[in-house]
Amino acid sequence: MGEKRAIEIAAEVVRAIEEHLPELSVGSVEEYVEAVLRERLLSEGFLSSYSPEEEKEVEQRLRDLGYLD
């Protein structure tokens, strides 16, 4: 999430997002594009929902809560 890189995308796509920011619930084109790409990559399995450290932390919490042992 920290590092950002610039990419180029079609102007008509950018315009369509800009024209519908309120409907898309976002404040900027970048915010929307990142959210949509993130979802797509997660569903394809190309991004992980949790880092290994996060998954361990969540598993420990579930263990503490009694869901796992």
């Binding site: 996060e54 809560l65 042992d69």
Partner: protein, 443 residues
């Protein structure tokens, strides 16, 4: 339409406490009150997403908080929003131009784009992870309520006073955030889920329930659950006051609660009966996963192993499926039936039957996707938990393997609709999805 989810809110408990709950009383008195039959297993994940997709766990391929990602022996992965590959009711409404506010729904981390806003559920990791859609919403949340609390941390404590304060703090914050979102955002569907009832039940049930084996009538915490529900009733009243007139309100839960007598060591039993073979029995209780990682399970002689939790899962070591499977496919049904019958017959320490139910996925679900357990086990019909750790040298454990826990889930949650919808005394959690669409004019 506003859907207020209270994880683990139980119909019997609510009726017991109703005299001191004016808001619930008004909703029930002027509305519909039904028992809401949960899914199998009646567990937060997948139950809430079953409610909001109208799909059962088999159709979703999600059978618990963790699921087998592959047929390896250690391949369990925590369920996330990416695990639910079908649209939820808010996705369907979004396509029709309706905006939703979603707050704390289990199974929504990482958050996904929606027409509206999403604050992810209790599986949000600690720290500064992105937990909202849009991402910038988290900065506004920090301004409104400070550090957002997706779930109670440090639940496993003997300090009940501390736990009560933590749960109340979480509930207070979530309802405060909910009111803010309702006031400041445009919405057609509002959905929130509060985990507080579940956490207070698990932590303090014995103090409340005079029939619980650990109940102490002199406990200073004997009214903790009653007091929490009064507090919750007040929060609910504040929230309802923010809703426009004519809003259809649902107050629902994913499952109920019952006292927990103790635990059955599912892997201890499998070891004792020769179904699970270790190269070396541990000197202290450890998770089976640790033994798997250390190469201490002799898979060449293991027929089955189990997972613990509020319910049990049993996996057969099937030849051609598991890496070192030994159960011949032609004997799979025979061995599974034998295991099911023997698990169902495990008595308590005194040899008395406990009413265990053992279920087969293909008999429960409309479809079976992903990798289901071969058997789903409700020890004592969830009056006993399933303990997966080994090293206890005992099948029956009165103490939880991870610390104090006094309650387990039961099969029915609550369904309150205000204004009244009908007089049905019971309905299924899987009906809620279509009901929301119907009420919102898209049925």
């Amino acid at each position: 339409m506003a859907v207020i989810g209270l994880d683990c809110a139980d119909p019997n408990l609510l009726e017991e406490l109703l005299g001191g709950l004016p808001t619930f009383r008004e909703l029930i008195g002027g509305g519909t009150f039904s028992r809401l039959a949960s899914v199998d297993p009646p567990i937060t994940v997948p139950a809430w997403m079953c409610m909001f997709t109208g799909r059962d766990p088999g159709e979703l391929g999600v059978y618990g908080f963790r699921n087998r990602a592959d047929y390896s022996y250690g391949g369990l992965a925590v369920a996330s929003s990416a695990s639910f590959g079908v649209p939820a009711v808010w996705d369907e409404l979004g396509r029709r131009g309706k905006r939703s506010i979603l707050l704390g729904v289990p199974g929504t981390y990482p958050p996904r784009p929606v027409r509206g806003l999403m604050v992810a559920g209790p599986l949000t990791p600690n720290g500064g992870t992105n937990f909202t859609y849009p991402a910038s919403l988290k900065h506004r949340i920090a301004t409104w309520v400070g550090d957002y609390i997706p779930d109670v941390r440090g639940f496993r404590t003997q300090d009940k006073g501390w736990l009560i304060e933590r749960v109340r703090g979480m509930t207070e914050q979530r309802f405060s955030l909910a009111r803010r979102l309702l006031r400041e955002e445009r919405w057609d569907l509002f959905v929130m889920v509060e985990m507080g009832p579940d956490r207070i039940h698990h932590g303090l049930w014995a103090h409340h329930d005079p029939h619980h084996s650990k109940h102490d009538p002199k406990s200073p915490f004997r009214d903790a659950i009653r007091d929490y529900y009064r507090f919750l009733d007040g929060k609910l009243a504040e929230l309802l006051s923010e809703l426009p007139g004519g809003t259809q309100v649902l107050v629902v839960s994913d499952h109920g609660v019952q006292g927990m007598e103790g635990g059955i060591g599912i892997n201890e039993w499998l070891i004792q009966e020769g179904y699970l073979v270790l190269r070396r029995y541990p000197e202290r209780p450890v998770r089976l996963g640790e033994l798997v990682e250390a190469g201490l399970v002799d898979w060449s002689r293991t027929v089955a192993w189990g997972e613990g939790g509020y319910y049990g899962r049993v996996f057969l070591n099937l030849a051609g499926r598991e890496p070192q499977g030994i159960v011949p496919p032609e004997r799979y049904e025979e061995i599974r039936a034998e295991l099911a019958a023997r698990l169902a017959a495990i008595p308590d320490e005194a040899g008395r039957p406990i009413g265990t139910r053992v279920l087969r996925p293909e008999g429960l679900y409309r479809k079976v996707r992903g990798i289901p357990p071969d058997l789903i086990v409700y020890f004592g019909d969830l009056g006993w938990r399933s303990i997966g750790t080994v090293g206890w040298r005992n099948v029956h454990l009165r103490e939880n393997d991870t610390g104090p826990d006094e309650a387990n889930h039961s099969h029915h949650g609550i369904f309150i609709a205000y204004p009244k919808l009908d007089d049905r005394p019971e309905r299924s959690i899987l009906e809620v999805h279509d009901l929301i669409l119907s009420v919102m004019g898209d049925g």
